[in-house]
Symmetry: C2
Subunit: 263 residues, 2 copies
């Protein structure tokens, strides 16, 4: 077996703002395909799943602002994420000479999760990641194949499960940290974590465990950014070398500001 | 590079009659996972795509009994075939300890096709297979991974294309014939090619080029069976070692009658 540790693996997560706009997605994928070295793409879902649910009369069930994944919703997510979005991304990457293969966690048994236990809320078919199997993925990476993950895992007992795409990205980065120098990039519509949410130039360029607590205490970081950053620190504590949050340009251009998370 | 020629690769195609019934599919996949040696599964679509088209108000456009694949229909096929059906099959195979990965022709750039030229009929986004790239698949097979193909290919220019599942199976068998002893199994609801379509015991056990023409001339073989058998003879002429048509049981049990195609 080769020793990889000095080789870098970039794990790049893109969200709905890139997926929902065909031109933006095309431009991103063109740039992504030019990134040298080992890479994995993880994509979220965007608005398409909600649109298909509306068209087919599947009721979107929300509790405390969080989506409940019943069997019908799981079917829609599987069709949209693993079918339409994932396969169109793979086809486009091939056109840009990036040899991609689409993955859920079931493919290659790569991400096993547990159906979230029912406490106050029954989230339905939602999976919390239990284990990342890097073996099959590593063989593909070694042969210059780029895995493209959608936000679906499985319980290794035949059941697909809806899983947060940010978490899939960080768990992959952690899972590969024993083999590679892993870097995690969260691409979204802002320049990074902002001091003032209305000012895209107020990027906090470095966050570490020390100033993180202060940022929480002073309520600079709150709401949606909290779980994302908790994901990041979980990854940093588990040997992920570098994490960046910002616009996709941070990947392709020098001197673009973004937020870097360090221990 | 290893010399494979003496190793056997089984390519097994299942159709709608297996996919549409969850219990039948489960039983099949359980048996399939027990098949020793190298194998690839190819699945058709079943009734689910038509059901989703109806639910979402996409009109199924037929010309001369053949489905026209416009962009909306292609989306539905991609969602149902590559999403729901393919990923559920992969998850179930993993539960049966068969390490599967779902494929369209875009994944691993494995099957490149050309959009069918418009003559009398514009079939829309339908692809005729041009080339099978065995490279990435072969690496996976070598590591005991089982590829599971749905009936979608791509043009290597970013466009997914709807492609006949029987053809995908035969083209894969032909593509791999240089590396393996390839065997092709078409599973459907009958015991094989029948002398009398209403008598499931009237199986024609052997068809070769010689009696094939006679069977066509005497109209024993006609309609839907003709393109299937043309596919078979195309494969036999291109070094596929063995082709069987019949019920899935032909794979798992001795002494089950089926039709075998030989040169």
């Amino acid at each position: 077996m080769r020793i990889y540790k000095m080789e870098t693996l970039k794990i790049i997560k893109i969200g709905g703002n890139i997926i929902d706009n065909e031109q933006v997605l095309d431009d991103f994928l063109k740039q992504f395909s030019l990134i040298k070295g080992l890479k994995i793409l993880v994509h979220g879902g965007g608005k398409l799943a909600t649109q298909l649910a509306e068209k087919t009369g599947v009721r979107v069930n929300m509790v405390d602002g969080r989506r409940i994944t019943n069997l019908e919703t799981l079917d829609i997510i599987t069709m949209v994420y693993a079918g339409k979005i994932n396969k169109n991304i793979v086809a486009k990457l091939q056109a840009f000479h990036c040899n991609a293969i689409g993955f859920t966690g079931a493919d290659g048994n790569s991400i096993i999760s547990t159906k979230r236990p029912v406490k106050e809320i029954d989230f339905g078919f939602v999976g919390d990641v239990e284990k990342v199997n890097t073996k099959t993925l590593q063989i593909l990476l070694e042969h210059k194949v780029t895995p493209v993950f959608c936000a679906i895992t499985h319980d290794n007992n035949g059941q697909l499960l809806n899983t947060n795409a940010d978490t899939i990205a960080s768990e992959l980065a952690i899972g590969f940290a024993k083999d590679f120098k892993t870097e995690l990039y969260y691409c979204f519509e802002k320049n990074g974590v902002l001091k003032d949410i209305n000012d895209d130039f107020s990027v906090i360029e470095n966050i570490n465990l020390e100033n993180y607590q202060k940022l929480i205490d002073t309520k600079v970081i709150s709401d949606g950014m909290l779980p994302k950053l908790n994901n990041c620190f979980h990854a940093i504590k588990n040997n992920v070398e570098k994490i960046c949050i910002g616009k996709p340009e941070m990947l392709f251009k020098q001197k673009i500001k973004c937020t870097t998370i360090k221990q």
